[in-house]
Amino acid sequence: MTQVTVTVNGNQHIKDVSDNMLLVDFIREKLALTGTHVGCDTSQCGACVIHVNGKSLKSCTMLAVQADGCDITTIEGLAVGDKLHPMQQAFHDNHGLQCGFCTPGMIMSAIELIEGRPDISEQEIRQGLEGNLCRCTGYQNIVKSVQAAATHSQQN
């Protein structure tokens, strides 16, 4: 067991963890933040994407001990009160989901993808989301949502 200190969505947590515990399991089981999903066992699907020190990462491919001292944002940390994050709002407005399982990872990846890129093209969005899989194959509206959020970021 190793003691780790992490800041998740602005709250500091100090916990003892097994060295072989994956960061995603730590977030879901130790912090009870179950918005971050586990969709595969092979680091391919991207349902577990979170931001660690401002960069998108697959939390199933990092150990909790490796996150010691890190600043983490999960899907739960995006909305401010009742006001959704612009990317969440864009997914809502454009029906950017079917079953919703991949959505947290899609949103976390997409936020980083469009950062400073209000004019990002549809092709760049499709390419940029290559680390996230949607088993419903609902990519059309996901791409539409991300494009809407990018355009919205330019207007604000």
Binding site: T2, S18, D19, N20, L22, D41, T42, S43, G46, V49, K55, S56, L57, K58, C60, T61, M62, L63, V65, Q66, S109, E112, L113, G128, E130, G131
Partner: protein, 266 residues
Amino acid sequence: MYSLTYIKPDSIDKAASLLAESDEHKVVSGGMTLLPTLKQRLARVEKLIGLEDCGLNNIALNSGILTIGAMASHYDVSHSADINAKNPALVELASHIGDRQVRNRGTIGGSLANNDPSACYPAAVMALKGTILTTKREIEAEEFFVDLFETCLEEDEIIKSVSLLIPEAAAYEKFPNPASRYAMVGVFVAKFPSEIRVAVTGAGENGVYRCSEIEHALSNSFSADSLSDITLSAEGLMSDIHAEADYRAHLIVEMARRAVNKASSR
């Protein structure tokens, strides 16, 4: 994942000492291959030695040689203004490894040590006359890459950095597997004042190699047209569910043509 102890030494020398203690100790850099392998219980380690605090992520340019620290991520390489100014081909290569999340965490040292036969970096290091600096010695690229997933690194030897020559012109083109983004064939073409070097990844049965036929043709004339009559033998190339050897032989020439066109257009 089997149980393990994670250790984060604050220097590369301490990391090397820990690694030398036991065969059951392994180092991890970005962990983009090792962690999935451990998750599947395809590997078991007693102590996992993280290199993140060893200060190996520096990128430096000195007298025509680019030196990249082993812990520099693909993101670091793809966003380096120094590298982009001197060798944009390397920036393009790093920008298309795996997916965004892999690039944010995966490292050049990890990629070289793993020597996946479909990885992109081995082609760049081979074509750019790379020298790999380890905790024990300096190793030329052609000696370093031995076979599939095999390098000449000793059990207790760790990569510290890799040094690459700056070419007059260079480009990397890959035909990615649409699912994994690994190169089904990747070709790095580098033009130096005295020679042309062409390295191929994703295709050889023994991993990355230099293609002398293409190098010879380009030495006569550095143009895509000079490759139009070349038909490579499929002997020694991989066949798998993604592509037969003869298809890979065709792709090598085609990727080389595209790379030459791109290198010439800069």
